[in-house]
């Protein structure tokens, strides 16, 4: 069978495509969504108005979007920093869990004694160390034995999920609330271990999101301005050239994966400290922040600053989706709309790199 169209890699990528494609993708998503909505008897303008209102209009909507965006910002940065070196770390999910485990331990252990500021720091560090070490395993396997990091990091996500279940459901661990016999749950950390929210221009911003902004800026500086960033760039471009120039490839791989995991781990810590207040095995596993983070990073073209913006957009869409759901608006329809937006965004990404051509038989045209 012969398909009517085909994709061809673009030889030259015109600059204007960089902004034209996202705009066209968004319009395409809105048009496709409108068709779906009309078909189900809804007024598209009305629905889009509500999405905008619930996701992005006003301080309350924005506060909610930023809250939802916070874990995605961290997992997005986790993916971006590794992907930029050509290391496909799919393990943000598991590294996020491990960060949550480490931070909850720190919160439970020190929450009663230390002042809030110190507890926050200890939790954040503990989360970063746990996420970072967990990812470093993948790095060592890759650097020393050349195992495929996609597969190992993915497998370690499942391992981390089993570990979470073990801590909360299958044992009487330090993390489990001893009061919860019939419905096992995590032990809540003390109020002193709660991370703060700040009001800026009427928008409630979690401390964790501010940390994410700092982290994104730090990554930007690291990759753009430092020797380390230069080395990462050369390794990504050509490992042989890196070896030729005396760059230590193995240790750089391990460090980048550890940093990547530390960011996801910091996200896990933030999730516990700013929002959940305990190790929520089921909640974490249902959220899938690690996987969504990969999408966020990809849409942001691995740029750390854009990653934050995309995270807020996705956060807003998610919240608007929850808000739309109701007796007259099934959740399936919400999912369809969100899916369409992601789908056209990814399709747009493809169009920057490839062009679509029609398959014809011989193209003889009289000159």
């Amino acid at each position: 069978m012969r398909s009517p169209i085909r994709f061809e890699r673009r030889l030259e990528q015109p600059k204007w495509l960089n902004w034209a494609i996202p705009v066209v993708s968004l319009i395409a998503a809105l048009v496709l969504g409108a068709i779906v909505l009309l078909a189900t008897g809804k007024n598209p303008l009305d629905v889009y108005g509500r999405i905008f209102e619930r996701g992005f209009a006003g301080t309350r909507a924005l506060s909610g979007s930023i809250k939802t965006a916070t874990p995605l910002a961290f997992t997005g940065l986790c993916a971006a920093i590794a992907f930029r070196m050509g290391l496909i770390n799919i393990g943000g999910e598991g590294q996020f869990y491990m960060g949550a485990v480490g931070a909850t331990w720190a919160g439970l252990a020190f929450g009663g004694d230390l002042p809030t500021g110190a507890v926050v720091i200890v939790m954040a560090l503990s989360g970063m160390v746990c996420g970072g070490l967990y990812a470093a395993i993948v790095g060592v396997l890759r650097a020393k034995f050349n195992t495929n990091e996609i597969i190992t990091s993915l497998m370690m996500n499942y391992l981390a999920a089993i570990f979470l279940n073990y801590l909360i459901y299958n044992s009487t661990s330090y993390w489990r609330d001893p009061e919860s016999r019939n419905f096992p749950a995590g032990k809540p950390i003390s109020d002193r271990a709660d991370w703060n929210f700040y009001e800026i221009g009427g928008i409630k911003i979690p401390l964790a999101f501010l940390i994410a902004i700092l982290a994104a800026a730090a990554i930007w500086v690291l990759y753009k301005r430092t020797r380390f960033g230069f080395e990462v760039g050369v390794i990504a471009d050509s490992p042989k050239a890196a070896r030729y120039a005396g760059i230590r490839t193995t240790s750089t791989i391990v460090i980048v994966l550890a940093l990547s995991g530390a960011l996801a781990g910091l996200g896990g810590a933030a999730d516990v400290g700013n929002f959940r207040g305990l190790l929520d095995s089921k909640g974490l596993q249902m959220s899938g922040y690690g996987y969504t983070g990969i999408v966020v990073a990809a849409l942001a073209r691995l740029n750390p600053i854009s990653t934050l913006v995309v995270a807020v957009l996705i956060g807003g869409l998610t919240n608007a989706g929850f808000a739309l759901q109701g007796p007259d608006f099934p959740s399936g329809l919400v999912g369809t709309l969100q899916g369409l937006i992601l789908f056209t965004a990814v399709a747009g990404e493809v169009l920057v790199k490839y062009r679509i051509r029609r398959n014809r038989r011989i193209a003889a045209v009289a000159a």
């Binding site: 012969r2 030889l11 380390f228 050509s238 042989k240 005396g246 051509r357 398959n359």
Partner: protein
């Protein structure tokens, strides 16, 4: 005679350059037609237009007398025109047969492996393209991979084959086999367009030659009625001669700058590639390493430049020992290296000219402070080197892969020479370059030697070695099998020892 392809008045402009400026070529059915021209003459651009990768700004393309407009390589292939690119496009984990059917527009979901293997085998027997259909690409040598590319194009029924500098990646023996294949294809009525800037090859394989210079057609000549000298002057627009370059001050062999003492090393597959090599290079001396490719030359260069660990032996630079397998140590001791694979080993090709010029000294205190890069200093260094080495580039932030071959090599030379090395390892430093660039590179090497740099010149090109080296050693199967002073060298003896024959009275 009938034309298979006729291109008239082809114009193609890129920002800032006219790559093709009214090119006319007329290719007859059933001939090997060479397109000859220096790097940047517009050969690849012309073939990309013929295969529909680029659209011409002006001009017409006729196939078998019919005007055509291709908008993609598939259109061209449907009209019977197939291209074997300079850079291969194979999936390294797939088998030969899988690669051959990959991307076929009509390929079924499941391939009939046995049938494809049979067809691949038929093609390879018919044209002398020896390759195992069930081998995986990563197991194949570069020459074999090229054969797969050719089979792929034949499998799709191409009647006109374009080969863009196919010999650049081949050893002389592989190149000869390729020429036989090309002759077999035209004997069956196919047409071959052979792109090259090497005069000898063009003379050897083609029926007619069209010479391009600066994007324009200089003329088309019958190969039988021309010679390398005429083609060279058509190509560069003046007469050229390669002579032994006269040195103003001789080598100072009393001062050794590089010593290899009983060096052995393994190749990537763990087999012993270097056996007990001992060698000395004096200050300002050029030692040529002759040999057929694949006899350990690459490993030798890598071992000295610290990219590959030694299994035994030691390497000293001016009396100080270099740590085995530590490129950083080699660089610090003053070893510069121009690797054979410039774009992927010597340079990070997607990186800018300025980044590549800083690739080895970005750690120095002049280019970074507290581990933060000093961009301004990096840019200033690049501007300086681009000027003094006459690198043709729009600016210093252009990725090196967009530069022409000669300018790529200039970037490498600029970086390696400006580090003021004590020792320079140059592996095939003029391979793939055009006549003008070859002259520049050779002059730079001699200049460096006159400044006192000890040079190890590894090359398959005997003429190059004989015209530059003070002393010549021959490598065969990982050993140094012969050594002669350049004045005393004769081609016949070198040729024999390179082929593994022992010569009585050999120096070691």
């Amino acid at each position: 005679m009938k034309s298979a392809v006729r291109m008239t008045g082809i114009v193609k402009r890129f920002p800032g350059v006219v790559a093709n400026d009214g090119v006319d070529v007329d290719i007859r059915a059933g001939e090997v037609h060479a397109l000859l021209g220096e790097n940047g003459a517009g050969k690849s651009t012309l073939s990309n237009i013929l295969t529909g990768l680029y659209r011409p700004d002006d001009g017409t393309v006729e196939i078998d007398g019919h005007p055509m407009q291709f908008s993609s390589p598939r259109d061209a292939l449907e009209a019977g025109i197939g291209m074997v690119h300079q850079h291969f496009r194979l999936v390294s984990t797939f088998t030969v047969a899988e690669n051959v059917v990959l991307g076929e527009p009509d390929s079924p979901f499941m391939m009939d492996a046995a049938r494809v293997a049979q067809q691949v085998k038929e093609l390879s027997d018919r044209y002398g393209l020896a390759v195992d259909p069930s081998a995986r690409i990563w197991q194949l040598s570069v020459g074999e991979q090229q054969r797969v590319e050719i089979i792929k194009v034949l499998y799709r029924g191409a009647k006109v084959l374009i080969l863009d500098e196919p010999t650049a990646v081949l050893t002389p023996i592989e190149a000869d086999a390729l020429f036989k294949t090309l002759r077999a294809m035209v004997a069956e009525g196919r047409t071959v367009i052979f792109i090259s800037h090497k005069l000898d090859e063009v003379i050897k394989v083609s029926d007619r030659v069209t010479v391009l210079r600066g994007g324009k057609t200089v003329g088309t000549v019958e190969t039988a009625s021309t010679n390398t000298r005429e083609l060279a002057s058509l190509m560069v627009g003046r007469s050229v001669e390669f002579n032994r370059i006269v040195r103003s001050n001789p080598a100072d062999v009393a001062h050794t700058v590089l010593t290899l003492d009983g060096v052995s090393a393994r190749d990537d597959r763990g087999r012993e590639a270097l056996h007990d090599i001992s060698l000395m290079v004096g200050r300002g001396e050029i030692v040529g390493v002759a040999g057929v490719a694949g006899n350990g030359q690459r490993e030798l260069a890598e071992v000295i430049s610290g990219m590959r660990p030694l299994s035994t032996g030691r390497i000293d630079v001016a009396g100080e020992s270099v740590q085995s397998g530590r490129a950083r140590s080699a660089i610090a001791k003053g070893i510069a290296h121009i690797p054979e694979d410039r774009l992927h080993t010597g340079l990070a090709s997607s990186h800018s000219v300025e980044d590549n010029l800083a690739l080895k000294n970005y750690r120095s205190s002049s280019l970074s402070k507290f581990r933060v890069l000093r961009r301004k200093a990096i840019r200033a260094q690049a501007a300086d080197l681009v000027r003094s080495y006459d690198v043709k580039t729009p600016d210093t932030v252009t990725p090196v892969r967009l530069l022409s071959g000669g300018n790529v090599q200039k970037v490498l030379l600029a970086r390696e020479f400006s580090s003021l090395p004590k020792v320079l390892i140059a592996a095939s430093p003029t391979r793939g370059l055009d006549v003008g660039a070859i002259e520049t590179v050779r002059a730079r090497l001699v200049e460096a030697a006159e400044r006192g740099v000890g040079i190890l010149l590894i090359s398959e090109d005997l003429d190059e070695i004989m015209s530059l080296a003070d002393r010549i050693v021959v490598m065969y199967e990982g050993r140094l099998v012969d050594e002669v002073a350049a004045e005393a060298a004769d081609r016949e003896r070198l040729g024999l020892t390179m082929g593994g024959s022992t010569v009585s009275g050999g120096a070691r």
